[in-house]
């Protein structure tokens, strides 16, 4: 399988009055055609900043992309998403790459009917003519499971429930046959029964259209159900990348191991303590010159405090940013 997106050494910083926030410290990953890559991490770990950097959605200033490249395999050859001109960028956003935001109510325009919002995007990117765009919009609304799509075409976002709004967001994201859809915590604000519906819908659409999906979440349960591969982020770095099964069976970074252990297990007896990761994530204003996780790491040793570990390959498609070999129980 060939990569549709390859990101290398992405560095994003925010220049604020308090100082420089080191939001991303060299993030590298790739996305294969048609696969689902889940990005997990806690708040402030850089999940959303990574995606917004790629699509140039961050306010600049204060943000600045300092380094890196993001090669997207377009139909007529590879392009670097970070070096696009304004009109090229417009062609990518919404056309080649769809974005599903967490909060559908603030992502949709409240004074424009949902039909018009979807149609507008189709006209902008595909320009099939007003009538065809309208038909396609209604088809899309039906496709994402909105009952009575024809009559709902002229409704405003507030007239939809939370789950239905998220379906509209999905319709917007896939309206122009994108190659990649970025889903930024699309189910976090929803109830579990509705979350299950949205996950099912996303999977179905992905199978039908062969879209590659980047799914950002902090819920390791959701990841287990949707992902082919997982990228774990901590304090602005990708600390582990792995195929999903390997990650859950053989986490190779102490942070991933800690996260998995902190989840309550189904069928576990009451009174059994949850394994917790002591401490809190570091302040990104003054990032240390050593492993970001060393403070909280149960395995830390002298080398962890001397330099930032590189990404080690520990198996087929499995990488970890850690000096400690957890299988051999000794430093690498």
């Amino acid at each position: 399988m060939s990569a549709i997106l390859t990101v290398k050494d992405l560095v994003t910083r925010f220049y604020t009055f308090d100082g420089v926030v080191h939001a991303l410290n060299g993030v590298s990953f790739h996305l294969d055609q048609g696969e689902t890559l889940a990005i997990v991490g806690e708040s402030g770990s850089g999940k959303s900043v990574t995606m917004m950097s790629l699509l140039n959605l961050l306010p600049m200033p204060p943000a600045r992309i300092e380094d890196g490249e993001a090669i997207f395999e377009d139909d007529d050859g590879p392009i670097d998403l970070l070096k696009l001109s304004k009109p090229e960028r417009r062609r990518v956003r919404g056309g080649k790459v769809g974005y599903i935001f967490q909060d559908a109510l603030s992502a949709l325009n409240p004074v424009m009917t949902v039909g018009r919002q979807i149609r507008e995007s189709i006209m902008e990117h595909l320009n099939p003519g007003e009538k065809a765009a309208r038909d396609r919009t209604i088809q899309l609304l039906e496709h994402v499971g909105i009952p009575g799509a024809k009559s709902r075409y002229g409704n405003y976002p507030h007239q939809f429930s939370g789950g239905m709004r998220q379906r509209v967001m999905i319709a917007v994201a896939i309206a122009c046959d994108p190659k990649i859809v970025i889903a930024d915590e699309p189910t976090t604000a929803l109830d579990v029964t509705v979350q299950a519906q949205i996950i099912e819908l996303t999977k179905r659409i992905q199978d039908e259209l062969g879209i590659a999906v980047i799914w950002i979440t902090h819920d390791l349960g959701v990841v287990a159900g949707i992902a082919d591969r997982v990228l774990v982020m901590y304090a602005g770095s990708a600390v582990e990348i792995s195929p999903v099964d390997r990650l859950y069976e053989h986490p190779q970074h102490p942070y991933t191991e800690g996260l998995l252990a902190a989840l309550p297990r189904v069928g576990a007896k009451r009174g059994k303590r949850l394994a917790s990761i002591e401490g809190a994530p570091p302040d990104l204003l003054e990032p240390p010159r050593h492993c970001q996780f060393a403070w909280r790491c149960p395995y830390n040793f002298d080398r962890c405090w001397a330099s930032v570990p590189p990404l080690f390959e520990v198996g087929d498609g499995h990488y970890t940013k850690c000096y400690y070999d957890m299988d051999q129980e000794r430093p690498r």
Binding site: S161, I199, E200, G221, A224, L259, P264, L274, S276, I277
Partner: protein
Amino acid sequence: MADPNGHPPAVEHPPEYLVRVEHLKKHFPIMQGIVWQRQVGAVKAVDDISFGIRAGETLGVVGESGCGKSTTGRAILQLQPPSSGRVFLEDVELTGLNESALRRIRPRMQMIFQDSYDSLNPRHSVGKIIMEPMVVQGEMEETDRRSRMAELLDLVGLNPNHAVRYPHEFSGGQRQRINIARALALNPDFIVCDEPISALDVSIQAQVVNLFEDLQRKLGLTYLFIAHDLSMVQHISNRVAVMYLGKVMELADRDDLFDDPLHPYTQSLISAVPVPDPKLERNRRRITLKGEVPSPARPPRGCVFHTRCPLAREVCSEEVPEYRGIFTEHFVACHFADPKGGSKIPV
């Protein structure tokens, strides 16, 4: 059988229960008109629920947004006076107390909120925040208050020297610890925890849940633990109540509820929760409910769940199912619930 109003028979709660709730209702009126206001309806946030909480146990309350779980917690503590029904703390009927009597009993029951930042005064130091309940109660000297405050900070795992700091200087998990310390200031018996960990990151959630459990063991606390995260509720609770549109759908011992859920709603709720195990997830057959929760201002007739229930038949849209015991200590509000599994959704 159900009485003519569709109320379940009064559930008898033996004296070992610390808190008893009987036919609790909280309806919020919907008003219309500018000068001449008139009530045009009511949001039935909590609609006739009964249960008891044993001393020293954790009763988990789960349900989706708008099911009335937070309102239940507030109505029990009389933060929002119930529309009808009775609430007892041991032998004292809270629903019958006047302001001053309620104030005297308040030290015994406390609440911890979801938003740890909004519930702390940003202009007060942490020490002042934790000492405030003692000041209000007015039974302690200044020096005693200070030493008690230091003791509390230590108890919840914070450095007593941090008493001079302000809430914004702490992280989310630490702020929740401050909230816990304040709730413990007057040695309560009963604490309502309203989604106390929902806003925290996974690695911090575990720290705070462990703290809740340690404190319960040390101080013999009784919790009403409200959450929407089923796996956390399963971890922390002794018994669990499942709510939907203002009603308790099922209440049972936590192992009975999770191993053998009788109500179709509980079954689908448990089935909808993603499990952190990719192999299990791939082979899982899921019960996916259609639609979303109806508005509590216009709840469906009959069983409130019938609009989404895969097992619904005619009787469900006509008659309110009785909330009754199927097994010992396992209560369900479903017409088809029986020990042979009549309310099981075939997967």
